[in-house]
């Protein structure tokens, strides 16, 4: 603690008493060690000031007990200019002028009545000043401390802020990188989404990894079969696809063997050894539930790269690819699904188009939605009613399955008949939202015309052959009594009975019996089933023996016969030729609904024998003329004709080197002409 310095200035004579007084005061416990006194006479004080102008500066309290105006002025001047903590004046020596003067000074001025009191006041001031100083010091100390604290805190805060700022900068950087990464990924994803083949994927990946040096071009391996891997790779900037056989039953690269196999295989392919390879498994799900065969299934998919990177860079590359494996896997899945779907759809449409029979998909208003046949024009395929397009009808077919109740059965089967064609229609309903009526139908039209005609023909043939057999038997049975009748008549005639008038009758009976026998003989010859040998046949005779078989059919018509005088010899099986003639005459007769004329004309030239069989019937319409000789073509009611007569006849005639053709008969009717080469004797 510092002591206050109190300067007493007074007359020389008062120094001692003031000293005593001051000592007395200063020993008081309250003031102990608070101050030291300096006592100077006015004269000394002035002398000191003259030599040391700063003397007063070192004083804390000034007790001025001076009635010397010079000393007063000196002090006052000083006081006026310099701050001093206090000035104690002995009021007995103070004038009004002094007072006025001091009022304007900056100093604390106290007044006392006598010198002792002044000293006391000075000590009090010193004590106070010390206390103030002390408090001031403590305050200063506290202030300093808190200032230091604050400074520390501030420093800490600054550190924190700095750190935070650094951190924020860092995370900004990180975010930015992350964002770039995400953007790159999104771009990659967008690029992937547009690709339609594995080759394109490979190309994209290869562009994507360009920034990594020391990484080879990508190799894509798809394991679609436990023992087979399809490999897609770059070779001389082109993408190749290779199959690799596996000789073990496992996931490809889960065993080192697989990776070695792949590296080995690639080495063979590229003609150079392969270095270290990195493999990434792609998560794919394609197939399993979807595939139709193994080629559309993915068991495993891997992306591989040849790498000469050090491990630090490799990590970055690994992360880069790992980010993308999912996307690539999904894209591969998508491509596989798409390919499978396209294939599936293609196969389906090929099957649909390839079916020989007509298939229509129609809605429940009979509109064609889809048709499989190329014969229909595009407009017909996509519009129009089924009955219009297929059958040229104005209204749905009478027995159309759409009119029947589908609730009870899944498929309807009906027969349709149009323009000499018969269809078996299978109608499969496709149910939509409504359970009352199917929304669509798949209609399958199977053309059964030929089957039906063959069936009818079979029935007819069976009938004819039964009839032939029957006719043969009947003919034999008739032969016996006929022989008897004839023989007996001959006997009776030979006996030449007299006086009877039935000889003529008997002659007629004998003739009739003879005729009967001839007819039966013809019939038997005609119905003979076994093959005849080729022989020389007189065509005119053959025609004449055939006509009686059709006598009944001929009876309402006029028959004109004109035979060549000379024998018209041809080489053939007579039964077959007879059948042809029979067919042609029979056709001619059937063509004449009303009484008409049947003309038969046989003649020959140097090489050819001709038989013309003409009628005056309905003739053959122009559009049917070229179909006449086609099998199964018939103008007769179903079941009446087989449609085989003319085609059979033509084939018979052609077999023997001849021809059979149609001519129009003028003015009306048809003419069929047989031409056969003359037999060379």
């Amino acid at each position: 603690m510092t002591q206050q310095t109190i300067l007493w200035i007074g007359p020389e004579k008062d120094i001692e008493s003031s000293k005593t007084q001051a000592t007395q005061w200063a020993t008081h416990p309250d003031f102990k060690n608070q101050a030291n006194f300096l006592f100077e006479s006015i004269e000394n004080f002035i002398e000191i000031l003259k030599s040391n102008s700063d003397f007063l500066k070192t004083m804390d309290v000034l007790v001025l007990n001076a009635d010397s105006s010079f000393a007063k002025n000196l002090c006052f001047t000083y006081f006026k200019e310099k701050v001093m903590s206090a000035l104690i004046l002995n009021t007995q020596s103070i004038t009004y002028l002094d007072f006025r003067y001091l009022i304007n000074s900056h100093c604390n001025i106290y007044f006392s009545n006598n010198s002792a009191e002044a000293l006391h006041e000075a000590l009090n001031l010193a004590l106070f000043s010390n206390q103030v100083k002390k408090e001031d010091h403590e305050f200063r100390m506290r202030w300093l401390e808190s200032k230091r604290n604050l400074e520390n805190q501030n420093q800490n805060l600054e550190l924190v802020v700095q750190k935070r700022t650094e951190h924020i900068d860092e995370s900004h950087q990180e975010e930015r990188l992350k964002l770039i990464k995400q953007r790159q990924l999104i771009k990659f994803m967008q690029d992937l989404a547009t690709l339609t083949s594995l080759e394109e994927i490979l190309l994209l990946i290869s562009n994507e990894i360009k920034k990594f040096h020391f990484i080879g071009s990508p190799v894509l391996s798809i394991q679609s079969h436990p023992k087979q891997v399809k490999i897609y790779l770059f070779h001389h900037r082109q993408i190749l696809q290779r199959d690799m056989e596996l000789n073990f039953q496992d996931e490809v690269f889960n065993s080192t063997q697989g990776a070695e196999d792949l590296s080995h295989h690639l080495a063979n392919l590229f003609g150079r050894p392969f270095g270290k390879m990195v493999h990434f498994q792609l998560k794919t799900q394609a197939s399993k539930s979807f595939s139709m065969d193994h080629s559309e299934e993915i068991l495993n998919a891997y992306l591989s790269f040849e790498s000469q990177m050090d491990s630090d860079n490799l990590k970055e590359f690994n992360d880069f690819i790992a980010d993308r494996t999912n996307l690539i896997g999904i894209s591969i899945d998508r491509i596989f699904y798409e390919t499978a779907l396209v294939l599936f759809s293609y196969r389906w449409s090929q099957t649909f188009e390839g079916v020989r029979d007509q298939i229509l998909i129609i809605d429940n208003q009979f509109n064609i939605l889809k048709s499989n046949r190329r014969e229909l024009s595009d407009s017909q395929r996509s519009s129009g009613k089924c009955y219009e397009v297929l059958f040229n009808l104005k209204a749905p077919c009478e027995n159309c399955p759409q009119f029947s109740d589908f609730l009870n059965s899944k498929t309807q089967r009906i027969q349709l008949n149009s323009d000499n064609h018969f269809y078996q229609l299978y109608s499969y309903p496709i149910w939509g939202m409504s359970k009352l009526k199917p929304e669509k139908y798949v209609n399958y039209y199977s053309d059964v015309t030929i089957e039906r005609k063959l069936y009818m023909n079979m029935v007819q043939t069976e009938k004819m052959s039964t009839l032939g057999l029957l006719a043969g038997n009947i003919a034999h049975e008739l032969n016996n009594p006929l022989s008897g009748i004839r023989a007996l008549t001959q006997i009776i005639l030979s006996e030449k009975p007299e006086g009877v008038n039935f000889i003529e009758d008997l002659l007629e009976i004998e003739k009739a019996a003879a005729r009967c026998q001839k007819i039966i003989k013809n019939l038997l010859d005609f119905s003979l089933l076994e093959n005849q040998t080729v022989s020389q046949v007189n065509v005119s005779e053959l025609v004449q023996t055939t006509l009686p078989l059709l006598k009944i059919a001929m009876r309402s018509h006029k028959v004109l016969q004109e035979y060549s005088q000379e024998p018209l010899l041809v080489s053939c099986e007579s039964q077959l030729l007879q059948q042809v003639v029979f067919n042609l005459v029979n056709n001619a007769l059937q063509a004449m609904k009303e009484a008409g004329t049947l003309s038969i004309h046989t003649y020959q030239n140097s090489e050819t024998v001709f038989v013309e069989i003409c009628d005056t019937g309905t003739g053959v319409p122009l559009e049917s003329q070229d179909k006449l000789f086609q099998p199964f073509f018939t103008t007769k009611e179903v079941g009446v004709g087989t449609g085989l007569g003319l085609s059979f006849s033509r084939s018979v005639i052609e077999r023997f080197g001849g021809s059979l053709y149609f001519q129009e008969n003028i003015p009306k009717g048809s003419c069929f002409v047989i031409e056969m080469p003359r037999s060379q004797k």
Binding site: N479, N480, S483, G484, A487, Q490, I520
Partner: protein, 115 residues
């Protein structure tokens, strides 16, 4: 001369009967194979007209059954010429039915016996 006619057709039998009777022969007729065999054994005919296709017993069966009891010349008559031809040898003559002229048939039979 004894003539036996075995045929199921009455008109054939009748005409042959009449033709041979008019020539003064003894003529026997049988309308089936069984009667024919009886008469054949009993009368031992010189000439037999035998129809092949008869109900109950065919002409061939008659010949077979008769065996050594067969006498005289045998004329077989048949409508089914083709299939019977191979057995032609069993008879002395084979005549195809229907025949045109009864007198020719009679003459052919007579000729066999008189040879």
């Amino acid at each position: 001369m004894k003539v036996l006619i075995i045929d199921d057709e009455p008109l054939i039998r009748r005409s042959l009967l009449r033709a041979f009777k008019s020539k003064g022969y003894d003529v026997f007729e049988a309308e089936n194979g069984f009667q024919g065999i009886d008469l054949w054994r009993k009368e031992k005919p010189d000439l037999v007209y035998l129809d092949i296709l008869m109900p109950g017993m065919t002409g061939f069966m008659v010949l077979e059954k008769l065996g050594s009891a067969r006498t005289g010349k045998v004329v077989l008559i048949s409508a089914y010429s083709e299939e019977d031809k191979e057995k032609e040898g069993l008879a002395d003559l084979f005549i195809k039915k229907p025949f045109e002229d009864i007198f020719q048939v009679v003459q052919q039979g007579e000729g066999l016996v008189k040879k």
